[in-house]
Amino acid sequence: MARITVGIGTSHVPAIGAAIDLGKTKDPYWKPVFDGYEWTKTWIENEKPDVIVLVYNDHATAFDMDIIPTFAIACSDSFKPADEGWGPRKVPDIHNHADLAWHIAQSCILDEFDMTIVNNIDLDHGLTVPLSLMFGQPEEWPCKVIPIAVNVVTYPPPSGNRCYGLGEAIARAVESFDEDLNVQIWGTGGMSHQLQGPRAGLINPEWDQKFLDNMTANPALLRAIPHIEYLRETGSEGIEMVMWLIMRGALGDNIKELHRHYHVPASNTAVGHIVLEKTS
Protein backbone atom coordinates (compact mmCIF):
# COMPACT_ATOMS: atom_id res chain seq x y z
CA MET A 1 0.00 0.00 0.00
CA ALA A 2 1.08 3.58 -0.58
CA ARG A 3 1.78 5.54 2.59
CA ILE A 4 2.59 9.12 3.52
CA THR A 5 5.73 9.15 5.64
CA VAL A 6 6.91 12.74 5.81
CA GLY A 7 5.70 16.32 5.44
CA ILE A 8 7.97 19.17 4.41
CA GLY A 9 7.22 22.86 4.56
CA THR A 10 9.29 25.41 2.68
CA SER A 11 9.21 28.88 1.18
CA HIS A 12 9.43 29.00 -2.62
CA VAL A 13 10.79 32.52 -3.26
CA PRO A 14 11.68 32.96 -6.97
CA ALA A 15 14.95 34.76 -6.11
CA ILE A 16 16.09 31.55 -4.36
CA GLY A 17 15.71 29.71 -7.67
CA ALA A 18 17.65 32.45 -9.45
CA ALA A 19 20.43 32.27 -6.82
CA ILE A 20 20.75 28.50 -7.39
CA ASP A 21 20.65 28.82 -11.19
CA LEU A 22 23.27 31.60 -11.19
CA GLY A 23 25.60 29.80 -8.77
CA LYS A 24 25.26 32.37 -5.98
CA THR A 25 24.41 30.02 -3.09
CA LYS A 26 27.76 30.69 -1.35
CA ASP A 27 27.45 34.49 -1.57
CA PRO A 28 27.29 36.10 1.89
CA TYR A 29 23.70 37.24 1.26
CA TRP A 30 22.48 33.78 0.24
CA LYS A 31 24.62 31.39 2.28
CA PRO A 32 22.50 31.56 5.47
CA VAL A 33 19.38 30.80 3.40
CA PHE A 34 20.89 27.66 1.85
CA ASP A 35 22.79 26.43 4.93
CA GLY A 36 19.48 25.62 6.59
CA TYR A 37 18.62 23.15 3.81
CA GLU A 38 21.87 21.16 4.02
CA TRP A 39 20.47 18.85 6.72
CA THR A 40 17.43 18.04 4.59
CA LYS A 41 19.44 17.48 1.41
CA THR A 42 21.56 14.82 3.13
CA TRP A 43 18.62 13.25 4.98
CA ILE A 44 16.38 12.98 1.92
CA GLU A 45 19.05 11.01 0.01
CA ASN A 46 18.45 8.15 2.45
CA GLU A 47 14.68 8.62 2.62
CA LYS A 48 14.34 8.05 -1.13
CA PRO A 49 10.69 9.06 -1.53
CA ASP A 50 8.99 7.48 -4.55
CA VAL A 51 6.46 10.28 -4.96
CA ILE A 52 6.03 13.82 -3.67
CA VAL A 53 2.59 15.38 -3.51
CA LEU A 54 3.74 18.96 -3.95
CA VAL A 55 1.30 21.68 -2.92
CA TYR A 56 2.15 25.04 -4.47
CA ASN A 57 0.49 28.01 -6.11
CA ASP A 58 0.72 29.30 -9.63
CA HIS A 59 1.75 32.99 -9.72
CA ALA A 60 -0.10 34.21 -12.83
CA THR A 61 1.91 31.80 -14.95
CA ALA A 62 -0.23 28.90 -16.19
CA PHE A 63 -3.47 30.29 -14.81
CA ASP A 64 -4.36 33.87 -15.68
CA MET A 65 -7.59 35.76 -14.96
CA ASP A 66 -9.52 33.49 -17.34
CA ILE A 67 -9.52 30.38 -15.14
CA ILE A 68 -9.02 30.47 -11.37
CA PRO A 69 -9.31 27.00 -9.83
CA THR A 70 -9.32 26.91 -6.02
CA PHE A 71 -7.79 23.43 -5.86
CA ALA A 72 -6.29 21.84 -8.98
CA ILE A 73 -4.44 18.56 -9.39
CA ALA A 74 -2.17 17.97 -12.38
CA CYS A 75 -2.62 14.48 -13.81
CA SER A 76 -0.62 14.28 -17.05
CA ASP A 77 2.57 12.20 -17.35
CA SER A 78 5.09 15.02 -17.33
CA PHE A 79 5.53 18.77 -17.13
CA LYS A 80 7.95 21.45 -18.27
CA PRO A 81 9.30 24.23 -16.06
CA ALA A 82 7.38 27.37 -17.06
CA ASP A 83 8.72 30.38 -18.91
CA GLU A 84 7.82 33.13 -16.43
CA GLY A 85 8.95 35.90 -18.76
CA TRP A 86 12.73 35.47 -18.87
CA GLY A 87 13.00 31.90 -20.21
CA PRO A 88 12.28 28.66 -18.32
CA ARG A 89 14.54 27.68 -15.40
CA LYS A 90 17.18 25.21 -16.57
CA VAL A 91 15.93 22.38 -14.39
CA PRO A 92 14.80 18.89 -15.43
CA ASP A 93 11.27 18.16 -16.61
CA ILE A 94 8.99 16.99 -13.84
CA HIS A 95 7.50 13.49 -14.08
CA ASN A 96 4.20 12.59 -12.50
CA HIS A 97 2.96 9.37 -10.95
CA ALA A 98 -0.13 9.78 -13.10
CA ASP A 99 -1.96 6.70 -11.82
CA LEU A 100 -1.70 7.93 -8.26
CA ALA A 101 -2.59 11.49 -9.32
CA TRP A 102 -5.80 10.33 -11.03
CA HIS A 103 -6.54 8.14 -8.02
CA ILE A 104 -6.15 11.10 -5.64
CA ALA A 105 -8.39 13.18 -7.92
CA GLN A 106 -11.21 10.65 -7.97
CA SER A 107 -10.89 9.80 -4.27
CA CYS A 108 -10.93 13.45 -3.19
CA ILE A 109 -13.95 14.22 -5.37
CA LEU A 110 -15.88 11.30 -3.87
CA ASP A 111 -14.70 12.58 -0.47
CA GLU A 112 -16.43 15.90 -1.36
CA PHE A 113 -13.31 17.87 -2.26
CA ASP A 114 -14.16 18.93 -5.80
CA MET A 115 -10.75 19.09 -7.45
CA THR A 116 -10.12 20.66 -10.84
CA ILE A 117 -8.23 18.19 -13.03
CA VAL A 118 -5.49 19.72 -15.20
CA ASN A 119 -3.68 17.87 -17.95
CA ASN A 120 -1.66 20.54 -19.70
CA ILE A 121 0.31 22.85 -17.44
CA ASP A 122 3.81 24.29 -17.16
CA LEU A 123 5.04 24.55 -13.57
CA ASP A 124 6.38 27.81 -12.17
CA HIS A 125 8.89 28.66 -9.41
CA GLY A 126 6.34 27.76 -6.74
CA LEU A 127 6.91 24.10 -7.61
CA THR A 128 10.44 24.03 -9.01
CA VAL A 129 12.20 26.08 -6.29
CA PRO A 130 11.31 23.59 -3.49
CA LEU A 131 12.61 20.73 -5.67
CA SER A 132 15.90 22.59 -6.19
CA LEU A 133 16.18 23.34 -2.47
CA MET A 134 15.79 19.71 -1.46
CA PHE A 135 17.56 17.97 -4.38
CA GLY A 136 20.10 20.52 -5.65
CA GLN A 137 20.89 20.44 -9.37
CA PRO A 138 20.52 16.84 -10.60
CA GLU A 139 20.22 15.71 -14.23
CA GLU A 140 16.83 14.22 -13.40
CA TRP A 141 14.62 14.68 -10.33
CA PRO A 142 15.00 11.55 -8.18
CA CYS A 143 11.26 10.91 -7.74
CA LYS A 144 7.81 11.45 -9.20
CA VAL A 145 5.90 14.65 -8.39
CA ILE A 146 2.14 15.20 -8.20
CA PRO A 147 1.47 18.95 -8.41
CA ILE A 148 -1.47 20.36 -6.48
CA ALA A 149 -2.12 24.04 -7.20
CA VAL A 150 -4.04 26.25 -4.77
CA ASN A 151 -5.47 29.69 -5.53
CA VAL A 152 -3.90 32.12 -3.05
CA VAL A 153 -3.88 35.11 -5.42
CA THR A 154 -7.53 36.10 -5.94
CA TYR A 155 -9.59 36.46 -2.76
CA PRO A 156 -10.99 34.49 -1.19
CA PRO A 157 -8.47 31.68 -1.17
CA PRO A 158 -9.65 28.48 0.53
CA SER A 159 -9.85 28.65 4.33
CA GLY A 160 -7.11 27.11 6.43
CA ASN A 161 -9.66 24.65 7.74
CA ARG A 162 -10.61 23.57 4.23
CA CYS A 163 -6.94 23.17 3.31
CA TYR A 164 -6.35 21.03 6.37
CA GLY A 165 -9.35 18.88 5.47
CA LEU A 166 -8.07 18.47 1.91
CA GLY A 167 -4.81 17.19 3.38
CA GLU A 168 -6.76 14.61 5.38
CA ALA A 169 -8.60 13.56 2.21
CA ILE A 170 -5.32 13.28 0.27
CA ALA A 171 -3.97 11.00 3.00
CA ARG A 172 -7.05 8.75 2.73
CA ALA A 173 -6.61 8.67 -1.04
CA VAL A 174 -2.92 7.73 -0.83
CA GLU A 175 -3.59 5.00 1.74
CA SER A 176 -6.17 3.41 -0.54
CA PHE A 177 -3.75 3.17 -3.49
CA ASP A 178 -2.64 -0.36 -4.13
CA GLU A 179 1.07 0.05 -4.82
CA ASP A 180 3.92 0.02 -2.33
CA LEU A 181 5.02 3.66 -2.42
CA ASN A 182 6.85 5.96 -0.03
CA VAL A 183 4.97 9.25 -0.45
CA GLN A 184 5.93 12.63 0.96
CA ILE A 185 3.73 15.70 0.99
CA TRP A 186 5.21 19.17 0.74
CA GLY A 187 3.48 22.47 1.53
CA THR A 188 5.16 25.52 0.05
CA GLY A 189 5.07 29.33 0.04
CA GLY A 190 5.33 31.97 2.76
CA MET A 191 6.39 32.71 5.36
CA SER A 192 5.62 36.34 6.26
CA HIS A 193 5.97 38.72 3.31
CA GLN A 194 4.17 41.53 1.56
CA LEU A 195 4.96 42.44 -2.05
CA GLN A 196 2.64 45.39 -2.53
CA GLY A 197 1.77 48.87 -1.31
CA PRO A 198 3.39 51.16 1.26
CA ARG A 199 3.35 48.31 3.82
CA ALA A 200 5.57 46.10 1.62
CA GLY A 201 8.48 44.42 3.36
CA LEU A 202 6.47 43.35 6.39
CA ILE A 203 8.07 40.48 8.32
CA ASN A 204 6.83 38.88 11.55
CA PRO A 205 9.30 36.33 12.92
CA GLU A 206 7.41 35.80 16.20
CA TRP A 207 4.23 34.85 14.38
CA ASP A 208 6.09 32.66 11.88
CA GLN A 209 7.92 30.75 14.62
CA LYS A 210 4.65 30.21 16.52
CA PHE A 211 3.14 28.80 13.31
CA LEU A 212 6.08 26.39 13.06
CA ASP A 213 5.73 25.47 16.77
CA ASN A 214 2.04 24.70 16.34
CA MET A 215 2.68 22.31 13.46
CA THR A 216 3.43 19.84 16.27
CA ALA A 217 2.13 21.56 19.45
CA ASN A 218 -1.36 22.54 18.38
CA PRO A 219 -2.40 22.01 14.76
CA ALA A 220 -6.07 22.56 15.72
CA LEU A 221 -5.19 26.22 16.35
CA LEU A 222 -3.57 26.49 12.92
CA ARG A 223 -6.60 25.27 11.03
CA ALA A 224 -8.77 27.91 12.69
CA ILE A 225 -6.59 30.92 11.72
CA PRO A 226 -8.79 33.25 9.62
CA HIS A 227 -7.52 34.96 6.46
CA ILE A 228 -7.54 38.35 8.16
CA GLU A 229 -4.98 37.16 10.71
CA TYR A 230 -2.54 36.09 7.97
CA LEU A 231 -3.07 39.48 6.30
CA ARG A 232 -2.62 41.57 9.44
CA GLU A 233 0.22 39.58 10.99
CA THR A 234 2.19 38.17 8.05
CA GLY A 235 1.62 40.57 5.14
CA SER A 236 -0.61 40.21 2.11
CA GLU A 237 1.40 37.33 0.64
CA GLY A 238 1.76 35.44 3.93
CA ILE A 239 -1.59 33.86 3.06
CA GLU A 240 0.44 31.29 1.09
CA MET A 241 0.91 29.52 4.42
CA VAL A 242 -2.57 27.97 4.10
CA MET A 243 -0.83 25.60 1.68
CA TRP A 244 1.31 24.28 4.57
CA LEU A 245 -1.93 23.20 6.24
CA ILE A 246 -2.71 20.79 3.39
CA MET A 247 0.64 19.17 4.16
CA ARG A 248 -0.03 19.19 7.90
CA GLY A 249 -3.54 17.77 7.49
CA ALA A 250 -2.17 14.80 5.54
CA LEU A 251 0.12 13.74 8.40
CA GLY A 252 -2.46 12.82 11.03
CA ASP A 253 -2.12 13.16 14.80
CA ASN A 254 1.27 11.70 15.59
CA ILE A 255 4.27 13.46 14.17
CA LYS A 256 7.77 14.48 15.16
CA GLU A 257 9.69 17.57 14.09
CA LEU A 258 13.01 16.49 12.60
CA HIS A 259 14.40 19.80 11.37
CA ARG A 260 13.63 23.51 11.26
CA HIS A 261 15.18 26.53 9.56
CA TYR A 262 14.19 30.20 9.57
CA HIS A 263 15.97 33.14 7.98
CA VAL A 264 15.18 36.76 7.05
CA PRO A 265 15.40 37.82 4.28
CA ALA A 266 15.37 36.24 0.86
CA SER A 267 14.49 39.20 -1.33
CA ASN A 268 11.24 40.48 0.31
CA THR A 269 10.46 37.32 2.24
CA ALA A 270 10.99 35.39 5.48
CA VAL A 271 12.25 31.92 4.61
CA GLY A 272 10.82 29.07 6.67
CA HIS A 273 11.45 25.34 6.41
CA ILE A 274 10.34 22.38 8.49
CA VAL A 275 10.59 18.59 8.21
CA LEU A 276 7.89 16.55 9.95
CA GLU A 277 7.92 12.77 10.27
CA LYS A 278 4.79 10.71 10.73
CA THR A 279 5.36 8.48 13.75
CA SER A 280 2.31 6.19 13.52
Binding site: A15, V153, S159, P198, L202
Partner: protein
Protein backbone atom coordinates in the same frame (compact mmCIF):
# COMPACT_ATOMS: atom_id res chain seq x y z
CA UNK B 1 -12.90 19.96 14.45
CA UNK B 2 -13.86 20.34 10.83
CA UNK B 3 -16.83 22.70 11.38
CA UNK B 4 -15.98 26.35 11.99
CA UNK B 5 -18.39 29.24 12.43
CA UNK B 6 -19.81 30.39 9.09
CA UNK B 7 -18.11 33.52 7.75
CA UNK B 8 -20.21 36.65 7.36
CA UNK B 9 -19.24 37.87 3.88
CA UNK B 10 -19.84 41.56 4.65
CA UNK B 11 -17.72 41.53 7.80
CA UNK B 12 -15.07 39.52 5.94
CA UNK B 13 -14.85 42.06 3.10
CA UNK B 14 -14.89 45.07 5.45
CA UNK B 15 -11.93 43.68 7.39
CA UNK B 16 -9.92 43.24 4.18
CA UNK B 17 -10.12 47.03 3.69
CA UNK B 18 -8.88 47.71 7.24
CA UNK B 19 -5.19 47.02 6.65
CA UNK B 20 -2.87 50.02 6.31
CA UNK B 21 -0.98 50.35 3.02
CA UNK B 22 -2.49 47.21 1.49
CA UNK B 23 -4.89 46.43 -1.36
CA UNK B 24 -6.26 42.92 -0.99
CA UNK B 25 -7.04 41.45 -4.42
CA UNK B 26 -10.75 40.91 -3.93
CA UNK B 27 -13.27 39.81 -6.55
CA UNK B 28 -14.25 43.47 -6.96
CA UNK B 29 -10.66 44.45 -7.82
CA UNK B 30 -10.30 41.35 -9.99
CA UNK B 31 -13.28 42.50 -12.06
CA UNK B 32 -12.07 46.10 -12.22
CA UNK B 33 -8.56 45.02 -13.22
CA UNK B 34 -9.41 42.17 -15.57
CA UNK B 35 -8.03 43.74 -18.77
CA UNK B 36 -5.18 45.51 -16.98
CA UNK B 37 -3.98 42.18 -15.63
CA UNK B 38 -4.56 40.34 -18.90
CA UNK B 39 -2.55 43.02 -20.73
CA UNK B 40 0.29 42.46 -18.24
CA UNK B 41 -0.03 38.71 -18.73
CA UNK B 42 0.46 39.15 -22.49
CA UNK B 43 4.06 40.25 -21.79
CA UNK B 44 4.92 36.65 -20.93
CA UNK B 45 5.45 36.16 -24.69
CA UNK B 46 8.69 37.43 -26.25
CA UNK B 47 6.92 38.61 -29.41
CA UNK B 48 4.54 40.74 -27.34
CA UNK B 49 7.38 42.17 -25.27
CA UNK B 50 9.03 43.37 -28.46
CA UNK B 51 5.87 45.09 -29.66
CA UNK B 52 5.37 46.62 -26.20
CA UNK B 53 8.91 47.97 -26.03
CA UNK B 54 8.67 49.41 -29.57
CA UNK B 55 5.60 51.52 -28.71
CA UNK B 56 4.02 51.20 -25.27
CA UNK B 57 1.10 53.55 -25.89
CA UNK B 58 0.17 51.85 -29.16
CA UNK B 59 0.36 48.44 -27.49
CA UNK B 60 -1.96 49.60 -24.68
CA UNK B 61 -4.43 51.08 -27.16
CA UNK B 62 -5.26 47.55 -28.30
CA UNK B 63 -6.47 46.57 -24.82
CA UNK B 64 -9.93 47.61 -23.56
CA UNK B 65 -8.57 49.23 -20.41
CA UNK B 66 -9.56 52.57 -18.88
CA UNK B 67 -7.41 55.58 -19.74
CA UNK B 68 -6.50 55.85 -16.03
CA UNK B 69 -5.14 52.33 -16.15
CA UNK B 70 -3.16 53.04 -19.33
CA UNK B 71 -1.68 56.24 -17.86
CA UNK B 72 -0.72 54.48 -14.62
CA UNK B 73 1.00 51.69 -16.58
CA UNK B 74 2.96 54.22 -18.64
CA UNK B 75 3.94 56.04 -15.42
CA UNK B 76 4.81 52.72 -13.69
CA UNK B 77 2.77 54.00 -10.74
CA UNK B 78 2.34 50.65 -9.01
CA UNK B 79 0.39 51.92 -6.00
CA UNK B 80 -2.12 53.55 -8.35
CA UNK B 81 -2.26 50.36 -10.42
CA UNK B 82 -3.20 48.41 -7.28
CA UNK B 83 -6.01 50.92 -6.72
CA UNK B 84 -7.18 50.39 -10.30
CA UNK B 85 -7.46 46.62 -9.96
CA UNK B 86 -3.92 45.49 -10.71
CA UNK B 87 -2.49 42.46 -8.97
CA UNK B 88 1.18 42.31 -8.12
CA UNK B 89 1.82 38.92 -9.75
CA UNK B 90 0.42 40.27 -13.02
CA UNK B 91 2.10 43.66 -12.71
CA UNK B 92 5.34 41.71 -12.23
CA UNK B 93 5.25 40.98 -15.98
CA UNK B 94 5.55 44.73 -16.61
CA UNK B 95 8.42 45.38 -14.22
CA UNK B 96 10.34 42.25 -15.18
CA UNK B 97 10.11 43.39 -18.82
CA UNK B 98 11.67 46.64 -17.56
CA UNK B 99 14.48 44.55 -16.07
CA UNK B 100 13.49 45.20 -12.45
CA UNK B 101 13.57 42.57 -9.72
CA UNK B 102 10.68 42.09 -7.30
CA UNK B 103 12.71 43.87 -4.63
CA UNK B 104 13.41 46.88 -6.84
CA UNK B 105 9.82 47.18 -8.06
CA UNK B 106 8.29 46.60 -4.63
CA UNK B 107 10.49 49.29 -3.09
CA UNK B 108 8.95 51.90 -5.42
CA UNK B 109 5.62 51.45 -3.61
CA UNK B 110 7.06 52.21 -0.17
CA UNK B 111 8.31 55.77 -0.55
CA UNK B 112 11.82 54.49 0.23
CA UNK B 113 14.85 54.30 -2.04
CA UNK B 114 15.67 50.78 -3.21
CA UNK B 115 18.87 50.89 -1.11
CA UNK B 116 17.01 51.91 2.05
CA UNK B 117 14.34 49.29 1.40
CA UNK B 118 16.92 46.55 0.88
CA UNK B 119 18.71 47.63 4.09
CA UNK B 120 15.41 47.42 5.96
CA UNK B 121 14.92 43.85 4.68
CA UNK B 122 18.45 42.81 5.61
CA UNK B 123 17.84 44.22 9.09
CA UNK B 124 14.75 42.07 9.60
CA UNK B 125 12.06 43.76 7.52
CA UNK B 126 9.16 46.03 8.45
CA UNK B 127 7.55 45.35 11.83
CA UNK B 128 3.77 44.84 11.83
CA UNK B 129 3.54 47.08 14.91
CA UNK B 130 1.02 49.85 14.23
CA UNK B 131 0.30 48.43 10.76
CA UNK B 132 -2.23 45.73 11.58
CA UNK B 133 -5.44 47.75 11.52
CA UNK B 134 -6.44 51.22 10.34
CA UNK B 135 -9.36 51.35 12.81
CA UNK B 136 -7.49 50.09 15.84
CA UNK B 137 -4.14 51.73 15.03
CA UNK B 138 -2.40 48.55 16.20
Amino acid sequence: MSELARTNIHEYLAELEDIPGTRVYTTKRARQGYWLNQFAMSLMKAKNREAWKADEAAYLADWPMTQDQRDAVLARDYNLLLDLGGNIYYLAKVFSTDGLSFLQAVSTMTGMSTEDYQDMMINGGRSPKGLRSIKEGT
